[in-house]
């Protein structure tokens, strides 16, 4: 039986694993992918201390290399269930069961869907949640980014080098993205902000041909003639497998030691309720969660 199983090998989980191994815990890190973390889909990261500009995948690769050098055991495994039995935890896939004395949940989050007509129908035919993956298909075309946060504006800037025009559809009259990104976006002549507006439908025949949007202040409606809709309206936590206290959006509630409502289960990174979702805060969560798991194991 392991001392600790860490669910999720993004920045939070990998950092937790490095710390846990250094505390001497018999630790297993599991994830369904060999390269995980939502951050691996980011084209560039400019706010992880020590790295003025680095690709998301490159940074994630460095984290995994570091974990390997630290002696972390990493297993690719698609989880079906997480249960508790007789004071220990059982992590199961369709092929095996693994037991541990404690758990760190670092399962991250996934892009939130708009939930409008056309979104599912046109997925991969104009609807995308990843500009770095699908952006090059839209060379010389008009596209829209929906959202006003960091990821939305980063993608709008990235797309403005590829597409002929990028509309940014945001439901408020101010962006949430950092000022430096806003300044860069406002400097791009082919980025146009569509303020106070929401998307009602994504329309087209075989591929996306337009977005139906309406202004929430004036109630005016209009069609944006775009072939791409890049959606960045927030995150949904991947927390269905664990039975601990969560907020109304499903993010795990922890105390400052990353302890959840269940004894022996800790949470870290984008899957827990936090005021900020960044690589650096995920890594910090992971370190604290590993320390707390270590103290918990010591006390059993």
């Amino acid at each position: 039986m392991y001392d600790l199983i860490i669910l999720g090998a993004g920045p939070a989980g990998v950092t937790a694993a490095i710390y846990a191994v250094r505390y001497g815990l018999d630790t297993l890190l599991v994830d369904k992918d060999s390269m995980s973390g939502l951050i691996s889909t980011a084209k560039t990261i400019e706010n992880y201390t020590g790295f003025p500009s680095i690709g998301g995948m490159e940074l994630m690769g460095k984290f995994l290399d570091h974990a390997e050098q630290a002696g972390v055991t990493f297993k690719v495994m698609e989880l079906n269930s997480v249960t508790e039995e007789g004071g220990h935890f059982i992590v199961s896939s369709s092929e095996e069961e693994i037991k541990s004395k404690s758990l760190i949940v670092a399962t991250g989050s996934s892009p939130r869907e708009l939930d409008v007509p056309g979104e599912k129908e046109f997925l991969g035919r104009g609807v995308s949640y990843c500009a770095t993956c699908d952006g090059p298909f839209f060379s010389g075309k008009e596209v829209a980014v929906i959202g006003g946060g960091e990821s939305a504006i980063e993608d709008a800037i990235f797309l403005s080098d590829i597409a002929s025009k990028v509309y940014v559809v945001h439901h408020r009259d101010k962006l949430r993205a950092s000022q430096i990104l806003q300044d860069r976006a406002f400097d791009r002549p082919n980025i146009e902000l569509v303020w106070d507006s929401v998307v009602d439908a994504i329309e087209g025949k075989d591929i996306v041909e337009s977005l139906q949007v309406h202004n929430v202040i004036t109630e005016e409606t209009k069609k944006l003639p775009v072939n791409g809709a890049f959606i960045h309206i927030g995150l949904n936590p991947n927390t269905d497998l664990v039975n601990v206290k969560k907020n109304d959006k499903g993010f795990i509630i922890t105390d400052e030691s990353m302890a959840t409502s269940a004894r022996g289960i800790f949470a870290a990174g984008d899957c827990r309720q936090s005021p900020l979702y960044q690589v650096i805060t995920a890594a910090s969560d992971g370190a604290i969660a590993a320390y707390s798991a270590f103290k918990y194991i010591e006390g059993i």
Binding site: M35, E78, G124, G126, C133, D206, I207
Partner: protein, 80 residues
């Protein structure tokens, strides 16, 4: 025999994950498997034929089966 085509691109960081899933399955199960770069002539033709605007995309027996990375279980189910 089931024919699986994985469309990928050099710029796509998610594609190696999808490639690994299909390559691992190929070692354990009997099906035809081909990886095609969307930037190649053949890839462009297939992308146009199936209106593909995202990678990785998996085409199974002439139909788009997965856009993005399938889970190993989903991929296995699709070739049964």
């Amino acid at each position: 025999m089931t024919k699986v085509i994985l469309l990928y691109a050099s710029w796509c960081h998610n594609c190696p994950k999808a490639e690994k899933i299909w390559r691992d399955l190929k070692e354990e199960h009997d099906f035809e498997y081909e990886e095609i770069d969307v930037e190649s002539d053949e890839g462009q033709k297939i992308a146009q034929e199936y209106s593909v605007m995202a990678v990785p995309t998996t085409v199974i027996d002439g139909e788009v089966a997965f856009i993005g990375i399938p889970s190993k279980d989903e991929a296995l189910e699709s070739i049964k």
